[in-house]
Subunit: 325 residues, 2 copies
C-alpha cells in the first residue's frame, strides 16, 4: 500500500499538504487539491490508520467485556452496543471472559497498552481494585464500583419486587429462586434480595439456590433444575433467569406438573426466547437497547473528557405477562 510520501511526490507537493488535504485541516489550494486527489486515485492510496492512531494515541476501538456471547442477553446487549458505537464512529472489540478472571485481566490491560480507548464491562470476576486503579475510561454494566466508575443498570430492586408481586398474587406458599453467585453485592443481585424480603414479609417460604453460571448450556441447566425440583417437591413458584426458567418449564411438562396451575414461573430478562415457549413466560423485562445506549454514551463522554451527567444510571424494568404466572 502506497504511503503519503508517494502521493506527495506524485502530486508534486509536500507531505504536509497532502495531510492537510486528507484531513481538511489548514489551507490547500484548489490546484494542489486536484493533483493530490488524482495521485490518491492512481496509487489507490489509503491512509494507514495504524500510523494515524499512533500519532493520536487512540484507536477508535472500545472493548466490550462480557461473560458469554452465546447468551441471549449478552448477544443482544453486544449487538446494540456495536450498533450505537458504529453510529459514533467507533469499533467494537468483543471479549468473552467465560468467568476466567485472567481473561478479564488481560482485556483490562489493553487499556494501558492503548489498544482500546475504553472498556464497557459486564463481567466482574476481578477485584474492584483491578478496575479502580485504572484511570482510563471504563463503564460498568451491573456492577457498582462506588461511584468511581459510571454504573449502568436496570432497576433490579423493582425487578425483584415485580416478580414477587406476581407470585404472591398467585398465592404461592413455597418458592424457590435460582441465582448466579450472590456473594458479591451487585445491583443485579438486588432482585434476589428484594424478592426474598417480600416473600418473607408475606410469610412465604423462600429457598435460594446459587450456582456459578459461566457457560450456559441447556443441558447443564436442565440437569441442575431437575436436581432441585426433585429435592423440593412442594415448590409452587419459581423465580430465575430466562434460560433456567425455560428448563423448569420443560421439566414441569416432562413430569406432569401443570403450569401455571401447580407451578408458577417468573423469569428475568424477558429476551425474545421467552416468546417461543408454550405458554410464553411471564417475565421481568430489562430494556437492553437503553442499557446499551447508556453504556456507549457514558464511555464516549469519558473519552472526550466531558463530564458524565449521571454516574449511576438506573433503567426501569417492566412486567411481561405470559402464561406461566
Amino acid at each position: 500500500m502506497a504511503s503519503i510520501r508517494e502521493v506527495a511526490q506524485k502530486a508534486h507537493v509536500g507531505v504536509g499538504t497532502v495531510s492537510r488535504a486528507l484531513n481538511g485541516s489548514g489551507y490547500v489550494s484548489a490546484d494542489a487539491k486536484k493533483r493530490i486527489d488524482q495521485a490518491i486515485e492512481e496509487l489507490h492510496y489509503m491512509p494507514n490508520e495504524l500510523a494515524r492512531n499512533f500519532y493520536r494515541n487512540r484507536t477508535g476501538i472500545i472493548g466490550v467485556v462480557i461473560p458469554n456471547l452465546d447468551h441471549p442477553f449478552f448477544s443482544k446487549f453486544t449487538m446494540e452496543v456495536e450498533m450505537e458505537l458504529y453510529r459514533h464512529g467507533y469499533k467494537t472489540l468483543v471479549c468473552n471472559t467465560i468467568g476466567i478472571s485472567n481473561r478479564e485481566q488481560e482485556y483490562l490491560e489493553m487499556l494501558d497498552r492503548s489498544m482500546v480507548d475504553g472498556i464497557i464491562t459486564g463481567s466482574h470476576s476481578l477485584d474492584d481494585s483491578s478496575y479502580l486503579s485504572h484511570d482510563k475510561p471504563i463503564v460498568s454494566l451491573d456492577h457498582d464500583f462506588g461511584g468511581k466508575i459510571p454504573l449502568i443498570s436496570s432497576d433490579h430492586k423493582k425487578g425483584g419486587r415485580l416478580a414477587a408481586e406476581v407470585l404472591l398474587a398467585d398465592g404461592c406458599k413455597h418458592v424457590i429462586q435460582f441465582a448466579g453467585s450472590t456473594k458479591v453485592r451487585t445491583p443485579a443481585n438486588d432482585r434476589h434480595v428484594t424478592f426474598t424480603q417480600m416473600m418473607q414479609e408475606h410469610g412465604v417460604q423462600v429457598q435460594t439456590v446459587e450456582s456459578a453460571w459461566n457457560r450456559f448450556t441447556f443441558d447443564y441447566f436442565q440437569k441442575t433444575m431437575e436436581k432441585f425440583m426433585k429435592k423440593y417437591t412442594n415448590v409452587d413458584g419459581i423465580f430465575t433467569a430466562d434460560l433456567p426458567a425455560i428448563c423448569c418449564l420443560n421439566y414441569a411438562k416432562k413430569y406432569g406438573r401443570k403450569v401455571p396451575e401447580d407451578l408458577k414461573i417468573v423469569s428475568y430478562d424477558a429476551m425474545e426466547i421467552t416468546q417461543i415457549t408454550d405458554p410464553c413466560l411471564t417475565a421481568v423485562r430489562q430494556d437492553v437497547p437503553q442499557l446499551a445506549k447508556a453504556c456507549v454514551h457514558s464511555i464516549l463522554a469519558l473519552i472526550e473528557g466531558k463530564p458524565v451527567k449521571n454516574m449511576r444510571q438506573i433503567f426501569d424494568v417492566s412486567l411481561q405477562r405470559g402464561g406461566t404466572a
Copy 2:
C-alpha cells in the same frame, strides 16, 4: 503512561537494551535486566501496543463480519471464533452488517487501513469483486469466491438431503420451504436446491418462499409464517431455519394443527434453541465449533503466509431427531 525512554533513563541503560529485555531478543546482562525490571515496576511501565503495532504493521485483531449478532447461529459462531482467536493471541473485532452493504464495505476497508490483520466474513451483501480486489487475508463462511478466498462451509447439500429424506419418509405430499434470498448461488442455498430436487423426484409438491432476513425478530417471523401458512393450507411439511421453524410450530399450536401428525417440521442449524420447544425440533445440525475453528486456522495461515491446506473446507452435518418430524 511512562515510555520506554523513561525506563531506560531510570535503569541507566539505552532504550535498545530495554527493548531487548522486554522482548527477550538479543543479549541483556543479568545486572541490566534487574535494573530494568525495577524501573518498569516503579514507573508502572506498560509497552504502548500502538507504537509496537505501528512498527510491525499489524494489530493482532481479526474482524468478524456477520449479519446479526443477535441470532443464535451467529452469536455462537462469533463466540467460538473469539475463543479460538484468543487461544492464538488474537483479538476479535465484531461487525454487524444487518444487511447494509455500506457497513460491509467499511469493515472491508479496515483491511486496507491496516486496522485489522484479516477478516472472517459470514455476511455477503457486496459484489464478489469488492472482496476479490483485496490481497489481504479474508476467509469466507458460506460464500464461494471461486477458490480465491478460503471457503468454510457445512455440507449444505447433504443438509438439504437429510431434511428431504425425513419429510419423504413421513409421507409428505405438499411441502414448503422458507429461505433467505436464493438469488446468489452460495453454498448455504444448496440445501434448498437439493431439497427441491429430491422432493420433485419423488413427486412431492414444493413451494419455496424467499425473504430477505437481515434483522431477525420473532414478531416478524411469526407474521410472515402466518401469512404463508394461511395461504397454503394444504401444506403438510416445512423446511426452514431454526427460528422461523419455531414460529411455525407456535403457529400450528395456535391454530390446532397437530405436529407431527398433520404437519411435519424440519429446521436447519439445530442450535440450542431447538431443544426448548415442545416437542423438540427435528433439525439438521451444523457443527459451529468446527466451522469457527476452521475459519480461525485458515485466516491465521493466510496471515502467517503459510499455504492454506484446503481452500474449500466442507464440514459434515447431522440429523437431530426431535418430535416434529
